[in-house]
């Protein structure tokens, strides 16, 4: 019984920690809530410019300055995301990419969110302190664009690597080159090691193609290949210039990160009020779970695994206690005969053993909870880490039991019920004993 509850709580605590880590990852990247143009979440990837938020700075100010919302906010930050084509025309290669334009300092602030007191936090973005035309790309993008050597990408085998840009036979088309020339940033000082340069082509707000050149400061693995093969991060202003040019800049989302996830419902309600006051009828609010369906799917998967393991452990506990109770009934046969002779009814015998099963379960639960908390503390103190799927940095391998009252209560009640149920058959058997045979038992 004790072992069963310890197993359930430790496994449940491990899953709780993974859940908090997953939630933290999404909250760090996308915030708790995002304000977007209606329809952007479903259709915007095809035409982000069409779904840009106009006057986003006014909306940001309204949100940040609101006396109700402000105490709940950690960060309110704009982002611009769109699809395009990244090209290393010196190497004659290009590939479709998904570009994120961000305010780096605010993204770094989001990365410091730690409501669940995790040991390992996300590092600052590599774009921190870089020039406005700097970019970070996924290692998959670097591989396809032939930048493995230039960016020192480990374990990267490029199909084609240019010896020098001048020696390459590939030439950027003139019209693209002319577009790119207008957005080229300052050349690095003579004698300095310059980062490789790529061009990004995208449709601007008017539907016309636009190109900008960026200096790739680093290639970073993004955790999963599908993202890593298309990832490009830019400073927000650079991304806005590419899409909106000289027009007023827009963003595709305003991300809001709260102090605590528990504030989400309240914050959402307040943001809805503020948007209504601003008559922003074309905007909607999405939470991190909607923005990241994988989160809900992962939680469902863990719930199914936890449920299965709990049932399995419950079955083991059921048979173990039933066996123990059966042996107890046999050992106490004379006692059963005696109390029946003294006048205890059959039902009284059954209730006596059922009560013992319940007490056994309850005492086992209390012990199991205490041992689980101690063991969880010991495991956490070891400082173990592991790298979950779709993550770049290692995460602490931790077990959260203390403070998880719902999990503790649910597991404890479940196992008490199982312990009680396991006493039913032995109790019934005890109540049906013949008194004479029981008194004669040796």
């Amino acid at each position: 019984m004790v072992l069963g509850l310890v197993a359930v709580l430790l496994f449940g605590g491990f899953i709780r920690d993974i859940t908090y880590q997953l939630q933290s990852d999404y909250v760090e990247r996308t915030g708790h809530l995002q304000v977007q143009r209606k329809g952007y979440f479903l259709y915007g990837s095809g035409n982000p410019a069409e779904y840009g938020i106009r006057d986003y700075e006014k909306i940001l100010s309204r949100l940040k300055d609101d006396p109700v919302l402000a105490p709940m906010l950690v960060v309110a930050t704009p982002t611009l995301q769109f699809g395009g084509i990244a090209g290393n025309f010196a190497a004659g290669v290009s590939r479709t990419v998904y570009v994120s334009g961000v305010v780096v300092d605010e993204q770094n602030l989001m990365g410091e969110w730690n409501d669940y007191h995790r040991r390992v936090l996300r590092k600052h973005l590599t774009l921190t302190g870089t020039s406005p035309d700097a970019a970070v790309i996924g290692t998959g993008v670097a591989r396809v664009l032939g930048l493995c050597t230039a960016l020192n990408v480990p374990n990267c085998v490029a199909i084609k690597e240019p010896s020098t840009p001048e020696a390459s036979d590939a030439v950027m088309p003139d019209d693209i080159a002319s577009l790119a020339e207008s957005t080229r940033g300052a050349k690095p000082a003579a004698g300095g090691a310059s980062p490789p340069r790529i061009e990004i082509l995208a449709a601007n707000a008017h539907g016309a193609p636009n190109v900008t050149g960026v200096n790739v400061v680093r290639a970073e693995f993004q955790g999963i290949k599908e993202l890593d093969d298309v990832y490009v991060a830019l400073h927000l202003a650079k991304a806005q210039r590419l899409i909106f040019g000289n027009d007023p800049p827009q963003v595709t989302a305003i991300a809001l990160q709260l102090q605590h996830t528990a504030q989400l419902a309240l914050a959402r309600a307040r943001v809805e009020e503020l948007l209504a006051e601003a008559k922003a009828d074309d905007l909607e609010i999405l939470d991190y779970e909607t923005l990241n369906p994988f989160y809900g799917q992962t939680l469902s998967m863990f719930a199914a695994i936890f449920g299965f393991i709990s049932v399995l452990i419950g079955a083991v506990v059921l048979f173990t206690i039933s066996n123990t109770m059966s042996m107890t009934v046999v050992e106490r046969t004379v006692e059963i005969g005696t109390v029946r002779a003294l006048g205890l009814r059959r039902r009284g015998v059954r209730e006596m053993f059922l009560a013992e099963g319940i007490v056994l379960g309850t005492v086992g639960c209390v012990l199991g909870i205490v041992i689980s908390i101690v063991l969880a503390w010991a495991i956490n103190a070891l400082g173990l880490t592991w790298t979950p799927p779709a993550r770049i940095e290692p995460a602490p391998l931790a077990v959260r039991v203390a403070g998880e009252y719902l999990m503790i209560l649910g597991s404890a009640i479940g196992l008490v019920v199982v312990a009680s149920a396991s006493a039913i058959l032995p109790a019934t058997r005890a109540s049906r004993m013949n008194i004479v045979d029981a008194l004669r038992h040796v």
Binding site: V334, R340, A341, L342, G343, R345, R346, R347, L439
Partner: protein
């Protein structure tokens, strides 16, 4: 369970004899029917020391079990306390035993996890007697059997004689009409056995309760007011050694 009411005080009340008419009991052992009792007709007078004696396998314990309502006859009538008990349901029999009968066993059969006090208290808990009244009665009974200072001892901490004293106190807790004792001195030395018999005699006179023993101990037989001799499941003879109402010298 029986209600909170207890057996009424016995002083001045009519005490019923135990009557067995044409009672038989057969056991089935490995597809063989073994007759334990055959055509038993017997009257056990109230407020007496009655000993059922006979060799091993004669049916003493079976007879005691039937009188004690922990077994049912195959046919015949058993009247205890004015009631035909063979017709009662299992729950009714349990209630009847709790209210009207007490038991003293050869192996004492105390509940090992309870103290002496709690063992004596157990039948009173079944009767849902109020705690204060319960405590008072238990203390008096333990004092009556000479164990006033041993209430907190568990059976494992008591001698054989002391355990049997606790068992006697337990048997008398609800002031039964009848106490059945199956070989109560068999596991005791002769001195202790004699003390237990003396104690039971004293309790019988104090509480005006009938004691029915099964025993083949001659010393127990000496104390009997009535002796029932049984052999091969049949009553051989019944000796009335003292007339009803005659005091023991």
């Amino acid at each position: 369970m029986p209600g909170s009411h207890d057996s009424p005080p016995l002083r001045g009340q009519v005490l019923h004899p135990v009557v067995l008419k044409n009672v038989a009991r057969t056991y089935r052992l490995d597809s063989v029917d073994v007759p334990a009792l055959v055509a038993i007709d017997l009257v056990i007078l109230p407020n007496r020391f009655t000993v059922i004696s006979g060799p091993s396998g004669s049916g003493k314990t079976t007879l005691l079990n039937l009188i004690g309502c922990i077994d049912r006859p195959d046919h015949g009538t058993i009247i205890v306390g004015g009631r035909a008990v063979q017709e009662l349901s299992d729950d009714a029999l349990s209630d009847f035993r709790a209210q009207h009968l007490g038991f003293v066993f050869q192996n004492f059969n105390l509940l090992p996890v309870l103290t002496a006090f709690e063992n004596v208290e157990y039948p009173l808990l079944l009767a849902r007697m109020p705690p204060g009244k319960r405590r008072h009665r238990v203390k008096r009974l333990l004092a009556a059997v000479g164990l006033a200072d041993f209430g907190s001892h568990r059976p494992g901490q008591l001698s054989g004689g002391q355990r049997q004293r606790v068992a006697i106190a337990r048997a008398l807790a609800r002031r039964p009409q009848l106490v059945l004792a199956d070989e109560p001195t068999a596991n005791l030395d002769s001195k202790t056995g004699a003390e237990i018999i003396e104690l039971m005699r004293r309790m019988q006179q104090m509480h005006r309760v009938s004691f029915v023993f099964s025993s083949h101990d001659p010393k127990v037989l000496e104390e009997a007011d009535d002796a029932v001799y049984i052999r091969d499941g049949r009553i051989v003879c019944v000796e009335r050694r003292r007339t009803p109402g005659e005091s023991r010298p």
